[in-house]
Symmetry: C2
Subunit: 407 residues, 2 copies
């Protein structure tokens, strides 16, 4: 007899994982980065140094730093946020997390109840939307343009909700290299967002996971830095700059709310070794390392846009990336990217269909997100060519690609 767990699962455990099958040949999804850029040798030196100096402190759950995370790392985070994002914060306002995914789970858990409303960019990180769905939280999408979330649309949304007697729990935003559109919100819009948040008395959750990866134009000050009344909760990560598998992210928040977030982190802390190696490596290397990533990312972005131009021609529309690791592509209306995704998967090409990455799935069913951070330039070129073939076969577009007329 085999015990039947299906009869006793909680309502949260409805989903079932499939056994992992490895990566597809053309892996244009997920926040993976370029393998050669992981600074393995420098990290190996750093970890050796810090282990010999402080390894014995790992005998205690929080080392000598307590439950908020390794203090030298929190200090670096503060120094770096001051340099890059104009934020003036102290290590007491930082909580190190297992990547920004745990940061998001913790902030959500602290603020959200089923039936609550969150206002966010209408095209959005699929993992943010799926988390809110699981929590039974309603979310309302705000329009975007080439400058990110539109403030007129935000104000209209807030006003409509107010008229409806519904007060949002927060505005969730990715203002810098927005996921998936890659847009960057200007300082002016950031100030306007703060004004709207004040007018409607709601906090802002600022997700800044990709903000280090801008190769064109200036990185604006974080919304957190412009806030004068402790209204912003901030999260970011080293996944996109050092290595995603390291799982080191963080929350920055006023103690008034951080003290309520901390008891929800019930895992006894995030891994010490990763915090220690980053605290040793980053202070003298982070800026230089990130500056080294940018030309490579730009090259990959250009390989992808050029391949889209070549193989999809006028059938593929997009905002040219100025940072980040993804492109949000609009295809002709007749293309359903969920069907395209299934057909492409069979051909070894993985992509994110628009409906999984947007609030209004129907309005975005001809859109898709393509990630270029991990694959090589060669792989990008091959994969986009394959994708165009699949798309043509399934939907009759693109009609022309490069010099080849399909039909």
């Amino acid at each position: 007899m085999t015990f039947d767990y299906s009869a006793i699962l909680s309502s949260r455990a409805a989903a079932a994982a499939s056994p992992w099958k490895g990566y597809p040949p053309y892996h244009f999804v997920g926040g993976n980065i370029d393998e050669p850029t992981v600074p393995s040798e420098a990290l190996a030196e750093a970890v050796k140094k810090v282990l010999l100096a402080e390894g014995h402190d790992m005998a205690k759950y929080g080392m000598e730093s307590g439950p908020q995370g390794y203090l030298p790392l929190r200090q670096f985070i503060c120094d770096n946020l001051k340099r890059c994002a104009a934020m003036k914060v102290s290590p007491d306002e930082v909580l190190v997390t297992t990547g920004s995914l745990q940061a998001m789970d913790l902030v959500n858990a602290a603020l959200l109840e089923p039936g609550d409303v969150v206002v966010l960019e209408g095209a959005n990180y699929g993992g943010a939307l799926s988390r809110l769905r699981k929590l039974g939280v309603d979310f309302v999408g705000v329009d975007l343009d080439e400058g990110g979330m539109r403030m007129d649309s935000l104000r209209d949304t807030m006003e409509a909700l107010k008229a409806d007697g519904r007060k949002p729990k927060m505005i969730y935003t990715i203002p810098t290299v927005q996921n998936p559109t890659g847009t960057v919100m200007s300082t002016e819009r950031r100030l306007e967002m703060l004004e709207i948040a004040r007018d409607y008395d709601v906090p802002i959750f600022e997700d800044d996971c990709y903000a280090d990866l801008i190769w064109e134009g200036e990185r604006p000050p974080a919304i957190y830095s412009l806030d004068t009344d402790g209204r912003v909760i901030y999260c970011a990560t080293f996944s996109k700059t050092i290595a995603p598998a390291l799982r080191v992210g963080y929350i920055v928040a006023p103690w008034t709310v951080l003290k309520h977030i901390m008891p929800l982190k019930t895992d006894g802390g995030s891994g010490a070794l990763e915090q220690m190696v980053l605290a040793e490596y980053l202070p003298s290397n982070f800026e230089r390392h990130v500056n080294g990533l940018l030309p490579m990312l730009k090259e990959k972005a250009e390989a992808m846009t050029q391949s889209l131009d070549e193989h999809f021609g006028a059938s593929a529309d997009y905002i040219k990336p100025i940072g980040g690791i993804y492109i949000w592509v609009t295809l002709p209306d007749m293309v359903d990217t969920r069907k395209l995704s299934a057909a492409a998967a069979a051909a070894g090409v993985a992509l994110n269909p628009g409906p999984e990455w947007s609030v209004d799935g129907e309005a975005n069913k001809h859109r898709m997100r393509l990630c270029f951070g991990h694959p090589s330039v060669e792989n990008i070129k091959e994969g986009i060519a394959k994708l165009a073939d699949v798309c043509h076969r399934e939907f009759g577009v693109p009609l022309r690609s490069g010099n080849v007329h399909r039909g």
Copy 2:
């Protein structure tokens, strides 16, 4: 104006952390271990080797191993469980977690709803009880004796619940070096527990976090190894043998339930570096390392029992530890260990009061848990002497300690 988060917190966020104040001088709480035993140098060598060989794989969230954790570590876990606990499992049945605390959270999340019932040892890990309380889960305590959970009491408990129309969601047990009693359940009792679980059609959650630390007698086979119908979910950790701050634990479970547990781990994986260094270090070092820990732990346990004998005399009763890092001490009835704990804290001594470590707080209010894994022998001796002073001052016992008659 400062934004008021208190008005918008979720019901889960009621608790508030206090700023961390560092460790007290006599720190007899928590699963911390002996600082000199952390194998820092060997870990430094191992991490360097593995980073140079495979560091670039950290560019992907799951490296080349997928979402269940670093495959070489999962393979070691299987090999080691076969050697130590008679378990025959494959890496496909293993999920690496951020310590066993996350393992516990995940298993609870997969199975438990508010109002559910869990049956467990009546004296228990405080963190297990507080988690169940937060989930709104009822728990029913089973009596313990020197051989761990009593099977007559377990059957009575199950029968009483059945008569009451309540079917428990699981039996949670720490069969090997039970927390806090330090008891080890015999193979016979394990088989009987499985029989009872079959009779009442419930699964068993076996928490084996301290099982490596037995210095007297044989480690019995895991309940998981004796099970024939996939009824047992198992968790353990390297926190107590290598270092708690590394945060590497794991779940072993039949795929029928593991596939439902996996989607609940929404943090993008646990830290890769820690998994990599353990996979490199453990295969050729784990057995020898653990064998090196045992005499030191035994010495500390003896320092603590001898100090208790010397300073508390007949006022302190306990089961002499044969493994682990804690002692469950029974004081005279008039001692309220919650009050003792508060008074001792003022004198720099931290302890776990019995009511926080038991189902029936009132019946255990004269008991306490003392951890000896972290402090030095000298610190243990001083701390227990101080504790006896405080206890005498507050409650008039112990009357005599060593050659000193207090009064």
